[in-house]
Subunit: 327 residues, 2 copies
């Protein structure tokens, strides 16, 4: 596709691109047909580039959870909207955005099904030992040593969902089909939900066999799964985390696992990604996933649609989808 | 528990135990409180032991899928019932049993949920690469080489279930919750089932992204997944097998996988267990499971209940559960 030069694109809406240096987002070409993408990292002097365009910029596309400093926001006095590409918005200072009158959209439900699928996959894996048994077979141990240890049944397990938003609801829907018993914790009780509600995660853990951690990372939820919660969950308890690494006190979790004080974990996220605590590599009741809950082409297609929808909606003064609540 | 000697147990119903030499079935103690278990392998001379009790034996408990020869059946002229402990009955000669007037019960629905859970777990694993990605993280590659390749979404996948019995129905129920589209092949169309029916597996494969092999192994279903079916399924197609190894032409499957002519497989069963074709050990789109679909304590508890129920029912002339159709 032949692209117009920037000077020819004065009639095309400007979108400022904020991305990690190493990330070349896959839908850049398609976005370029609708919008004039200003990407400072494409310029030899990015600071100068930003200053030159600063006053024209009303929309920022934030690719991946790339932190946005208040210094950058200071440079963009006319910014009205940040279009995010992730579910979590912990890389943004929400109160600062509210103060500046900047709206934020996230990936909304585009990722929910894929993240829920992976969460359920990790749970089946931890309970039934799929990836540990796969290593056992691949190492030739099946033929040499005989049967692999028993796993645990999904049906009848009490599943405590931490954060019953888009992802948590999809997790609940799937696990109900396995005969699991669902309850949840969230900031507020959801009026139209048939599951038992616990106002705090400690009570949820006491009454659950499994915690599915699906909530957003905020100041309030940082280390929401702490040692008291893990102790309440107990020796047979399982934790699955598809939210953010810092939702769990990772150091404490490693201690609980090493001491056998918790049953197992399935983790797609870690506190210092891509670094994973080495102690976990030796444990067969631990399933490690490289933050790939959203890593399907279908997910990226859905995200691309949503981003283009929101950018077009903004420039034509239509309502936006998946606005983040800036309370 | 103190057990009575055999001579004191004349009033206790006799149950003949047929098991593999290495297998000590976990519910022997509990069965012993209700029945007088005659286990030839407990005797120094098993042939003599069988002959001595032959005429008294009306019920045989077959532990694991242990083959029963017609020579053994010749020795037991009054045998009326074989109580099996597996779903599959490919280790028994059904027409010979029918001819002799011997009824057979299998494990019925005791295993269905656990087998379906593992089948779904294997499918999520193959599509999303869970166990391959877990090896990637454990080997330290995430921190060194960056992102793991994308997987595939479950939602919208066309799932072809081969054998819509107890297990296949449970698989369908689960995968509907993931937004999959279900169709099936079985000997006969099921009247009360909403899914599309294909009278042969080839047409099912043409119209499916995934084949879930859940049927019994019989003469008719031996190598039901042959090279024509695999070619019909195509390069992106996935096969999950929780039935029996010989339902798939394993040598052809290995060729298809090595040549990249099929998308991936998740296998709990193999033609020559516990031997697994070595070529599979190198492939990341292959998830290998050591015939552990039924390996949960809950499964064994349910099986124990069913076996005791059927043995008691037999001796009190009550209807049996999970009778195998001897057509």
């Amino acid at each position: 596709m032949k692209q117009k030069s920037m000077d020819q694109q004065d009639d095309v809406p400007l979108v400022f691109v904020h991305r990690p240096p190493s990330f070349h987002f896959p839908f850049k070409d398609r976005l370029s047909t609708h919008f004039n993408l200003l990407d400072p990292l494409d310029s030899p002097d990015s600071t100068h580039f930003v200053r030159r365009h600063a006053n024209s910029i009303r929309v920022l596309l934030c690719v991946d959870p790339t932190p946005i400093s208040s210094d950058l926001l200071d440079l963009l006095p006319n910014l009205q909207l940040i279009v995010g590409s992730s579910v979590g918005v912990d890389h943004l200072d929400l109160s600062d955005c509210r103060r500046r009158g900047i709206a934020i959209t996230n990936s909304g439900v585009a990722f929910s099904e894929d993240v829920a699928d992976l969460a359920v996959g990790l749970l089946i894996d931890v309970l039934r030992g799929i990836s540990a048994a796969a290593r056992f077979v691949r190492s030739g141990f099946w033929a040499k040593t005989g049967d692999y240890p028993l796993g645990f049944k999904l049906g009848g397990k009490r599943i405590g969902i931490v954060g019953l938003g888009n992802i948590g609801s999809q997790v609940a829907k799937r696990l109900e089909a396995f005969g699991c018993i669902i309850s949840y914790n969230s900031r507020r009780k959801k009026p139209s939900v048939p599951f038992a509600y616990y106002a705090n995660i400690y009570d949820l853990a006491v009454n659950s066999d499994v915690l599915m951690v699906c909530c957003a990372l905020t100041e309030e939820t940082h280390h929401i799964v702490n040692k008291e919660v893990m102790a309440a969950l107990g020796k047979e308890g399982v934790i699955i985390n598809v939210g953010r690494g810092a939702l769990i006190d990772e150091k404490e979790m490693v201690r609980f696992l090493v001491r056998g004080e918790i049953g197992g974990v399935g983790l797609d996220v870690f506190e210092n990604e891509p670094d994973v605590p080495k102690e976990l590599f030796q444990l067969d009741n631990v399933v490690l996933s490289p933050h790939s809950a959203v890593a399907t082409p279908e997910c990226f297609d859905a995200l691309e649609e949503l981003i283009i929808f929101n950018l077009k909606a903004f420039f034509s003064h239509e309502p936006l989808r998946s606005l983040v609540e800036l309370e």
